[in-house]
Symmetry: C2
Subunit: 461 residues, 2 copies
């Protein structure tokens, strides 16, 4: 595994956390170049929401493939290190076989604003804030955290960092020289005692994650930070699709706790780490690729990105809108074609099992979640097949305890009738079970208009 | 129930659908006035995404309360009938005790664009479309549907309507004179035969609802409409928070089916039916309320709306940011105060049960959905408490059938041991069950790192 310096620091920490003793990490920083098999890999600096983000030129025997990684072109980034246009221009002049490029914001016209815009917003908010300022963002967004530190420094406010992943990342980034602290860092345990001081607190949970710093503060459950009147909270992120409701709930709860909340809808306290259309066109203009593969985005974003490429001169037949797992083969004559998809997808980790849970188990869980379960136990005589005693009924997620006793009794009677009927013939357990299941399912569906999972169990004694 | 003419038509249809024979609907249209108990109700026309939307002035013995309903100020609405500024200005001059106003877009600066903008976008898209144009929107958005009809008419394209709720609403709106058809309406059953004609098809499912017209078309499962190359699909809606993923998936599937899809991110094919900040300020300026209650919006939108009100001169202590169910009492001296919240909330309809499902049942369903269920049945001798035979184990949503046989056998052994241990003492069923449950739960949690619902059942014979 090759990674740039900060990424290595963050990954080494994760490996330690998961008790991996081998160290597979090798250095690869902007300006380096490595040979792997028939490939020469040449990383180039791009802008993104973490320092030292890189794209890669992969020189192959049939031509050069440029992979942008996540990128934007920020002329005034937080760390002062802009994307390397010179390498991109050189690659374009030498000839690029294919460009594989970030499509996250291919639907957005214009340019993604510079990280500087956020820094200015932070300063203006902190300048006006009557009390503490709490800023929530991604734990990995070291650039954003630096801007929090800088803005706090400008108003001589002390800083605290709260949230396990952010604390770890800040420590690593500081040790590696990626973060500077204009004002002293306060231990989180001291926040309570210093509740009257105008601290600036950086924390996690900007996506409304229920176990992260911000949601705990919003719910009054945080060990170190209790929201108080006069607090200003900045939610420095846009909700990732699917998280809108959780983020909204967190903001609402912060308002209820007495904080003033500033978030993406009402101030520019977040900018994306991904390029908008004009930057994507700039990437296409610099690299002048023969083939184009829009990646990192939903199909509709890939389609939008593909249109930009054809506008920039890529032949429409050389644009590959592909699903995950679809390989593209490149040939010595400069042609390319998509080939048979390979196996890919998510692996479900469930407790101690990794990728072992079957579709049947998941389907059962869905049924259980919708309507619960009814287990009907019947004991029958092994010789005669006649029921021994009354069947026993167990339900979960279906009936409300006592009040449904009548329904339980009626169901048991239906079940008993189903077995008595069966016991006239041979006592084949499989048949008895099927009959039991059908009779109980039909009865319950008619009575309740619900369809619990009905499980018949027949024991011979 | 009082309602305007179109609303009465739509509601009468719903009552019929649910086989309600009583007719509780009474007419109340803009310009009418009614007396109910001590109140005089005076509706006034507002702009919204359905014709004849109204707000209400409620004249009470202690003053006038203005309730806006859902509203916007559209100077060029689809039906040509703009909001009634004159009534609002008169109310303001006479004195308004309290304004209760729509907060949906209180975070959005400026004005909500006119519905006209969408009509122009439709015309421009239909003009360029090489083949059929399919427009998805809300079934109740009669104004939007009229614009689809008008745009189709301008290019002499015939029209079809697909989707049960939209078909019903279009029929009702046409019968009541709320829709006009410049070009003929084609029956949906004819769409297949006319697949080469440049039809315009209005349909439902703009929120990605899996059972609605658009999602079915996107999945190739629609009875009447098969997406073909050259089709243009307009998704004329913004995703309601929580629906982003479903809408995105529908758009992606339409692209995969070969359609060109135009949606809110890439063209103005939707405008909100709710007022933005400048319109909200206009409402405040016209009515000049003493008290202000922002409604219809999350807490953060109510807060944003409350700030607009104080900017417009309402005293901050007269702004009531309240949860659902919180009453506000108004007094003859013009004062107001919030009082004790009343019972309110959602009623859960589950099969044939309405509001009867308990929190315990719901909690069980969540556990079942996460990790499934394990039922352990043990038969014991009523006298001695000794186990009769081996316990029986039933699991659903937990183990993968055969491959986990070893775990099942081990669990049964653990269970048997738990009962044998118990049988030394008295055979108290409750105790045996607790012991059984604890032993099995602990064993399974240790072995699988999962926590299924463990249900012990002990039968005495």
């Amino acid at each position: 595994m090759y990674a740039s310096t900060l990424a290595r620091g963050l990954l080494a920490n994760k490996l330690k956390e998961y008790k991996v003793t081998a160290n597979p990490l090798r250095p690869l920083d902007p300006g380096d170049q490595i040979e792997i098999g028939p490939f020469v890999i040449e990383p180039f600096r791009v802008g993104h929401s973490i320092p030292d983000a890189m794209g890669y030129a992969i020189h192959t025997p049939v031509g050069t493939v440029v992979h942008t990684g996540d990128f934007k072109f920020d002329q005034t980034p937080a760390d002062g290190k802009a994307a390397d246009f010179a390498i991109l221009a050189r690659l374009g002049a030498q000839g690029v076989l294919a460009l594989v490029s970030d499509s996250t914001r291919a639907e957005a016209p214009g340019y993604t604003p510079s990280e500087q815009v956020v820094g200015q917003a932070f300063k203006s908010i902190i300048s006006d804030a009557p009390g503490r300022v709490i800023v929530a963002t991604f734990a990995s967004n070291i650039a954003r955290i630096q801007q929090v530190l800088d803005a706090a420094g400008e108003f001589r406010r002390k800083v605290a960092v709260v949230g396990r992943s952010m604390e770890q990342n800040v420590k690593i980034a500081r040790d590696l020289g990626y973060l500077t602290f204009p004002t002293p860092l306060i231990a989180k345990e001291e926040i309570g005692r210093r509740s009257k001081e105008p601290l600036v607190i950086a924390t996690t949970g900007a996506q409304g994650e229920p176990m992260a710093g911000l949601a705990k503060m919003a719910n009054g459950e945080h060990r170190n930070v209790e929201i108080q009147n006069g607090d200003t909270v900045i939610v420095s992120a846009s909700p990732i699709p699917g998280n809108e409701e959780a983020v909204g709930r967190t903001i609402d709860n912060l308002f209820k706790s007495g904080a003033n909340v500033i978030y993406h809808s009402i101030a520019q306290v977040h900018v994306s780490g991904h390029a908008s259309q004009e930057e994507l066109k700039m990437m296409l203009a610099l690299t002048k690729p023969r083939h184009f593969v829009p990646m990192h985005g939903e199909m509709r974003m890939q389609v939008a990105h593909g249109r930009l490429a054809t506008q920039m001169g890529v032949s429409a037949s050389n644009v590959f809108i592909i699903d995950n797992g679809t390989p593209i083969e490149f040939y010595a004559d400069g042609s390319a074609r998509r080939t048979t998809p390979v196996a890919h997808g998510a692996v479900f980790v469930d407790g101690a099992s990794v990728g072992e849970i079957s579709e049947i188990v998941l389907r059962d869980r869905r049924t259980l979640a919708d309507d619960g379960i009814v287990v009907i136990f019947a004991t029958v005589d092994a010789q005669s097949g006649k029921p021994v005693g009354r069947p026993v009924l167990v339900t979960r997620g279906f009936l409300n305890g006592d009040e449904d006793n009548k329904l339980v009794e009626a169901t048991i009677s239906i079940a008993l009738k189903a077995i008595q009927h069966k016991s006239d013939r041979s006592a084949e357990t499989g048949l008895i079970k099927a009959q039991l299941s059908e009779a109980v399912s039909r009865f319950l569906s008619r009575e309740t208009r619900r369809r619990p999972l009905v499980v018949p169990v027949v024991v011979e004694v």
